[in-house]
């Protein structure tokens, strides 16, 4: 009853013009206006009951690590990029993928990193210095028993090398083999204790609690990876809560590429973020997205009819659009590869995060330009 009253009140507050308009429309004979009828309005500032937790990635000397600065993601109280009067407290972060071995990559990416592909430290340095990466995701692909089966100690050494080469916060990725990943995460977590790494990833199909224990013991952050399913994501977070504080969990519900199911990714992220803001405790975590997956879509790398070429532009644009679409759904941490895509996405983030009062009207007169 109380709600109903309030709502009615709001109708009157919001829509005087709409009501007036309805009345006028009902009149049979119309008097044409001779000047503009003022119909100003104020959109409401929307407040949600829930808030995303803030997660700190990386640690400075003062914080127990060696990073130049740490990065905080999350903390949103409203939908991302919906209302500049109610902005997200922290900008989304762009992290570049670096692999610990030479892997097959599309030519469009390879041409930018060919000379460093066998030196992860140099590769990471290039991503930070040249491409503008704010973080590095070191993918320890070589630990896969089906690849080089690199032992945990050696993998941890690579992590140390990369930590020395760059001063941005670091994420460390496994190979997807649940047993080997855990063994490596244990070693890496111990060696990099205090660095507040983002351990990528802790999944339901591994010893989740074992991984969480390790992450907790050495003060890192878990990237909780689930399938594209809201309940699976909830369940995983619930499992992690028994060990990890919420401030040490970032969630990832898998990213499909533009053209290969991006709509599922987009809508799931949007649903998760809305549910979280509406108060769903188990989903109130910053979200991560692997926009690098864009390169799985054939249209990103395949040679096509001349009309759609060159692919060296089409491919990175594919990654850009995949990343931008996840950003619009509310992603806080996006993993990328191509330097042009990274630059565009960072540029868009910067422009959408600007803190300023509304600029005066500025006409963009595209009608009369001669291109």
């Amino acid at each position: 009853m109380e709600d109903e009253k309030k709502r009615k009140k709001a109708v009157i507050k919001f829509g005087p013009n709409a009501c007036m308009h309805a009345k006028l429309m009902a009149q049979p004979s119309r008097i044409k206006p001779t000047k503009i009828l003022e119909a100003a309005f104020t959109p409401p500032i929307v407040e949600y009951p829930g808030q995303i937790v803030e997660v700190k990635l990386g640690a400075t000397k003062g914080e127990g690590g060696t990073r130049r600065k740490s990065i905080v993601i999350g903390g949103e109280k409203s939908l991302t990029f919906y209302d500049s009067r109610n902005p997200s407290p922290h900008p989304p972060v762009v992290s570049c993928d670096v692999f610990d071995m030479k892997i097959p990559l599309p030519k469009a990416i390879k041409m930018h990193i060919e000379s460093v592909m066998e030196d992860p430290a140099a590769w990471a340095k290039r991503c930070v210095d040249k491409f503008g990466a704010e973080m590095i995701t070191l993918q320890l692909t070589s630990i896969d028993p089906k690849m080089k089966d690199t032992p945990p100690k050696e993998a941890a050494k690579t992590v140390e090398e990369v930590l020395q080469a760059v001063d941005v916060p670091l994420a460390v990725g496994g190979c997807g083999n649940p047993v080997k990943d855990l063994a490596v995460f244990k070693e890496v977590s111990a060696v990099a204790e205090g660095e507040r790494l983002l351990i990528s990833s802790v999944s339901p199909w591994m010893d989740t609690k074992g991984a969480a224990e390790t992450i907790k013991k050495h003060g890192h952050v878990a990237l909780a990876l689930s399938g594209m399913d809201m309940n699976e994501a909830r369940e995983l977070n619930r499992t992690l809560y028994s060990i990890l504080p919420r401030e040490q969990i970032v969630m990832d519900t898998s990213t499909a590429s533009l053209g290969s199911g991006l709509e599922f990714t987009y809508t799931l992220m949007a649903r998760i973020r809305l549910a979280a803001l509406m108060g769903d405790y188990e989903l109130q975590h910053p979200m991560s997205s692997g926009a690098t997956n864009a390169w799985f879509a054939r249209e990103s790398w395949k040679k096509m009819a001349p009309q759609w070429e060159p692919r060296k532009l089409r491919g990175p644009l594919w990654e850009t659009v995949t990343a931008l679409t996840s950003l619009m759904a509310g992603v806080d941490y996006v993993m990328m590869m191509h330097p042009a895509a990274v630059r565009t996405v960072k540029d868009v983030i910067q422009r959408l995060m600007e803190k300023r009062v509304k600029k005066p009207e500025k006409t963009t007169d595209w009608i009369s330009i001669r291109i």
């Binding site: 959109p43 594209m228 249209e299 759609w308 931008l324 595209w366």
Partner: protein
């Protein structure tokens, strides 16, 4: 002013019960449904319209019908540009987020030409627009309109250009100028084809409104980065008698991009959540505005234009005006709008079972994939892309419409997981064992983790195939025909 978010805010999608109360409730079945509540459920999902209930058309239900119509009316008005088969509908949207129902009319894309283009170039460009089509899954993606800009500001020139374009395309047009007499010159010959008039502004609105009324064409309203002015002009035009409006809050690709995204989002919010009828019209975005800055290299402008277009597709633009027509830049936007405007309520799976490609024999390869629509169409297109692979058996395993990678990662069959059990059963049920002599199954690279379990359960030998189905032809050449022979 602050609003606490509670459920869907002010304007909510009606429930079947809300509608049921207004229906005759006689369960007469004339609509083809079992009863009135079933019909109400269909109304809510936009699977039926109120005209399908004959009793409602009778006088005694007139009031109820009007109430229903009001409840079911989209908060964003649907506006039609053009006539006949290639007419384009924009707007007609109900929701902010596609999971709340579905987005209805995909963002239309208009490509520009100018009235100063030499004859040959103009025709070439019109043809390029027509030829920009791409087959994606089982759909033909294409561009929707041509926007004729008057850069000359000359009546005769504009008229000639508009006529020339109209003669050479079936696509609807957008006529772009702020000069009423130029627009009028363009409208005289093609007004019957219902082009969109772009645009009424705070300075010219009266003359333009007269044109829209005289020629009965939809009209765009432009008020760059000033939503109050936009709403005021809209109100004025409605009072003037113009009904089909399209709103342009301005697209600033540079310093004002934050405002642009903000304006689009606010407009759709006001329509869908606050029920503001003055702002409940389709929205125009103009990624073409990146070309105002001519200092950039053309490829950079195209890249920026495509990036901005993709953001505006996610942020409620119902019509985009673009300059780029290069395939590499257009394709991501075309696919993105297909993706986001696909109906999330539709099942994502195709019929499981055995598919036969070409004329395979007893030595032909046997492969499997999951029944996720996207996966299935992609894999089958790749198999058909080469003679070497277009002779095989493909088992489509029922993962309840989940793709290979996510299905293989799930341990149980309960929620679309893929298990060796299911594959064993699919082999048995398909009868493929009678069709081939060999016992070798090629599995998707993404499902490599199931390899040994499948071998144990079926007695078949497993060959782990590529992770991308695009490599299937090469894989079959290398690993099926070459290796197995040697």
């Amino acid at each position: 002013m602050k609003r606490r978010m509670r459920r869907n805010g002010k304007r909510e999608i009606p429930s079947p019960l809300d509608l049921y109360k207004l229906l005759p409730r006689t369960n007469c079945k004339e609509c083809g449904e079992r009863n009135c509540i079933a019909f109400a459920a269909k109304l809510v999902n936009k699977d039926a319209s109120i005209e399908e209930c004959p009793p409602l058309l009778e006088k005694e239900y007139e009031e109820a019908k009007n109430k229903l119509w009001k409840l079911l009316k989209p908060p964003v008005k649907e506006v039609t540009i053009g006539t006949g088969n290639s007419a384009v509908k924009i707007g007609g949207e109900f929701v902010m987020h596609r999971h709340e129902l579905a987005y209805i009319n995909p963002t239309a894309i208009a490509i520009d030409v100018t009235d100063e283009l030499p004859h040959g170039e103009l025709l070439k460009r019109v043809k390029e627009v027509k030829d920009c089509t791409y087959t994606y899954l089982d759909q033909e993606l294409k561009l929707d309109l041509i926007a004729v800009r008057s850069t000359s500001n000359d009546r005769a020139r504009f008229k000639r250009a508009v006529e020339k374009v109209a003669e050479n395309t079936v696509l609807p047009l957008v006529l772009c100028s702020f000069n009423p007499s130029v627009l009028k010159a363009g409208l005289t010959s093609i007004s019957r084809e219902k082009p969109l008039i772009y645009a009424a502004t705070k300075d010219n609105w009266k003359d333009i409104a007269e044109l829209a009324l005289m020629y009965k064409c939809p009209l765009a309203v432009s008020a760059p980065n000033d939503l109050n002015l936009l709403r005021s002009i809209t109100q004025t035009l409605i009072e003037y008698g113009v009904e089909d409006l399209v709103l342009d809050p301005g697209t600033d690709p540079n310093d004002g991009f934050l405002d642009t995204v903000n304006n689009f989002t606010t407009l759709r919010w006001m329509a869908c959540r606050e029920g503001d009828e003055l702002l409940g019209f389709p929205l125009i975005g103009a990624p073409i505005a990146v070309w105002v800055n001519l200092e950039r290299a053309p490829d950079v402008s195209k890249w920026c234009e495509a990036s901005i277009a993709s953001i505006l597709v996610t942020r409620y633009a119902d019509l985009l005006i673009m300059h780029t027509i290069d395939g590499w830049a257009m394709l991501p936007t075309m696919i993105l709008r297909q993706n986001l405007y696909s109906d999330p309520r539709k099942p994502t799976g195709v019929e499981p079972g055995l598919r036969i490609f070409g004329e395979p024999d007893e030595n032909s390869p046997v492969m499997f994939t999951t029944n996720f629509t996207l996966t299935y169409f992609t894999v089958s297109a790749d198999i058909q892309s080469s003679d070497i692979s277009n002779r095989c058996y493909l088992l489509v395993v029922d993962t309840q419409g989940v793709g290979v990678q996510s299905a293989a990662a799930r341990a149980s069959a309960a929620k679309g997981g893929l298990t060796a059990d299911m594959i064993a059963r699919a082999i048995k049920e398909s009868g493929v064992e009678e069709k081939v002599k060999h016992r070798t199954l090629i599995i998707p690279g993404m499902a490599a983790n199931l390899r040994y379990k499948i071998e144990d359960l079926t007695g078949w030998k497993v060959l782990v195939g590529p992770s991308s189905s695009a490599e299937i032809p090469d894989f079959i050449r290398e690993h099926w025909y070459k290796e197995r022979k040697s």
